[in-house]
């Protein structure tokens, strides 16, 4: 009986846990509760994934109202995969959060932090499971509003300005999305995603549909920081509390990309193949620009968190590149990279957050000789950094391999060369961190110590994940391949 209600429970458990968390008022209690809920959400997501892999997509009618009139929760392979990523990152970050946040925030704000975190989790999960285009907007705003608060809680006053900028751009993005959905609704009279896909081809006047698609694409691109629309991202991730930065860097942008895949392929895929709309040209151009330029900007950053955030913008470029390729191999690369980059960047932000615990802000200069003081942390950064670059044997290699294969399949050798070149830029900026940490002498009087085990173990779980999913591609690449296949809906 409960199995059948899993799609609702996935969202409802964190959503109702959030107000309860606000009532608890004691930092430790609230933390324990939020951790428990995060792990429960992971269990639910794992159950859903196994169910979807064995029996196919699940549909759940909220309030027992039949779709397309009622809101439908619809979970297929890719959404189940995203659920596991989001809840998995949440479950790993929460044990880390207690010590890290206690050092960064005043004690009376901690219960509110956990409340906002649970709301953000519920919003992200809701965006993934729902099959209703307007419901997506509601969950998107739940996730966004709570993440603005999470960022504004950051320890320095710059966090406020970062949160404000994210609020303005994030709201514009969400409003663009809702304008686009409005056009589709006006032309088809439905908001259900599956129903939209069926009705779009029947519409006579095509122009509003195209305009709607453009609004949705730009709005979502703002949300996941596609290259020229990325200005909110470096500040937001650099000044947020470390645990929040790790959670959002690994999940928030990924869910927005997932929505874009949903609209490009599920809703528009059959009636409007992307090449007909000249989308691949624009998309690949912006992706390549992001991969190269954001990486170059990352090289010139002194603040390590800003560097990692700009590197996220570059990595988003890889993901959108796979979308632009519009082939099964390319799309598999995109979906795998969603997952692999999530755990890689999550690991890096957690580890750098550990350094920030003792040194305050983390600049290249403050890293001098820190490898001797924090050998385990730096070893983790080395491995996760290798995954970011895409060295064989790490998770990052798998996804870049698929993307290069996809590019070669199209006969675009130059694109394969660009992917390799961008990886070399990643070598440069990660190299700056490693050079400072391993080769420079430690300044006298440096007090850095290894971070506590409660922070080190979660970070290392993700680091081990980077290697594990690089060697054993059954889970990630296999599921991503199935998801890509289903999205394209073409014969094998």
């Amino acid at each position: 009986m409960t199995l059948q209600h899993l799609p609702a429970l996935q969202v409802v458990v964190p959503l109702l846990a959030a107000p309860l968390c606000a009532l608890l008022r004691r930092p430790t209690l609230a933390w324990a509760w939020a951790t428990l809920v995060s792990w429960a959400a992971l269990v639910i997501a794992a159950l859903i994934l196994t169910q979807v892999l064995t029996t196919g997509p699940i549909s759940y009618w909220i309030g027992n109202w039949q779709p397309p009139w009622g809101i439908e929760y619809r979970i297929d392979t890719i959404s189940a995969f995203m659920l596991v990523l989001v809840t998995g990152i949440g479950a790993v970050v929460m044990p880390y959060a207690r010590v890290s946040l206690a050092a960064e925030l005043p004690a009376d704000r901690l219960p509110w932090y956990y409340t906002m975190y649970l709301l953000c989790l519920a919003g992200l999960l809701g965006m993934t499971v729902t099959g209703d285009a307007f419901n997506v907007f509601v969950f998107m705003e739940i996730a966004s509003l709570s993440s603005y608060v999470l960022i504004a809680m950051g320890p320095s006053r710059r966090a406020l300005m970062a949160a404000y900028q994210y609020l303005i751009l994030g709201t514009i993005g969400a409003t663009f999305y809702i304008i686009g959905v409005g056009f589709l609704y006006l032309m088809t009279g439905t908001l259900n995603i599956a129903d939209l896909a069926e009705r779009l081809p029947l519409v006579e006047n095509q122009r509003p549909i195209i305009v709607g698609l453009a609004f949705i694409a730009v709005g979502l691109s703002l949300k996941f920081a596609l290259f020229p629309l990325h200005f909110w991202l470096p500040g937001a991730y650099a000044y947020a509390p470390s645990a929040a930065a790790a959670f959002m860097a690994a999940t928030a942008t990924k869910v927005a990309v997932y929505l874009l895949l949903r609209f490009f392929f599920t809703v528009f895929g059959e009636a409007y193949p992307l090449p007909d709309m000249a989308i691949p040209v624009i998309w690949i151009g912006l992706s390549v620009a992001g991969m190269i330029l954001a990486s170059v900007m990352a090289i010139y950053q002194d603040d390590v968190k800003r560097m990692l955030a700009l590197s996220s913008v570059a990595q988003i470029g890889y993901i959108t590149l796979g979308i632009g390729l519009d082939s099964e191999v390319g799309l598999t690369g995109s979906v795998v990279h969603l997952f692999n980059h999530g755990i890689t960047k999550g690991a890096l932000f957690l580890l750098v957050g550990g350094i920030a615990l003792t040194t305050g802000t983390v600049t290249i200069a403050s890293l001098s000789g820190i490898a001797r003081r924090m050998p385990l942390t730096m070893a983790g950064i080395v491995i996760a950094g290798m995954s970011l670059i895409g060295i064989p044997g790490t998770a990052g290699f798998v996804s870049k391999w698929y993307l290069i294969l996809g590019a070669i399949e199209e006969g675009w050798w130059w694109l394969a060369a660009v992917i390799v070149a961008s990886s070399l830029l990643a070598v440069v900026y990660m190299g700056r961190i490693l050079e400072a940490a391993y080769l420079r002498p430690a300044p006298p009087g440096q007090e850095a110590r290894e971070m506590p085990l409660s922070m080190l173990i979660p970070a290392w779980i993700l680091v081990i994940g980077c290697v594990w999913f690089g060697l054993d591609t059954d889970l990630t690449a296999d599921i991503a391949g199935r998801a890509a296949h289903a999205l394209l809906g073409r014969a094998p």
């Binding site: 705003e141 603005y148 608060v149 949160a163 404000y164 709201t171 304008i179």
Partner: protein
């Protein structure tokens, strides 16, 4: 000119939309930016609600003597969007108050100067 009159509701929508977005981008004052953002969001309410109304239509309750009904769904959707808009505005204002306390100004360029970014 004819098209402006025929599409009056849509014209107003577009004007509000562009106006709001322009204010957000062109003004450096954090409060003015939020005002622009609110105008921008308001245009969306009009985008949905305008076409949902049928002239001469009534509320969709089955009753003797009425057979033209307006679509209630856009109103429900926009009620949600209004709540979201209010929440966003409240949060934006709250952050602006905190920024004012931290920096002593709400002009974007002055704030960036104080942090040494500009």
């Amino acid at each position: 000119m004819d098209i402006v009159i025929a599409q009056f509701s849509n014209t107003v929508t577009v004007i509000l939309m562009v106006l709001g977005l322009y204010v957000v981008l062109a003004r450096g004052n954090l409060i003015k930016k939020l005002i622009g953002l609110s105008i921008f969001q308001t245009s969306v309410y009009l985008l949905y609600v305008g076409p949902g109304k049928i002239i001469g239509g009534t509320a969709p309750i089955i009753a003797e003597g009425f057979d033209v009904y307006s679509n209630p769904l856009p109103h429900v959707l926009m009620l949600t969007a209004i709540v979201v808009g209010v929440a966003t505005l409240a949060l934006g204002l709250a952050i602006t108050v905190r920024i004012h306390e931290a920096y002593g100004t709400i002009e974007e360029d002055e704030i960036l100067k104080k942090d040494g970014d500009a």
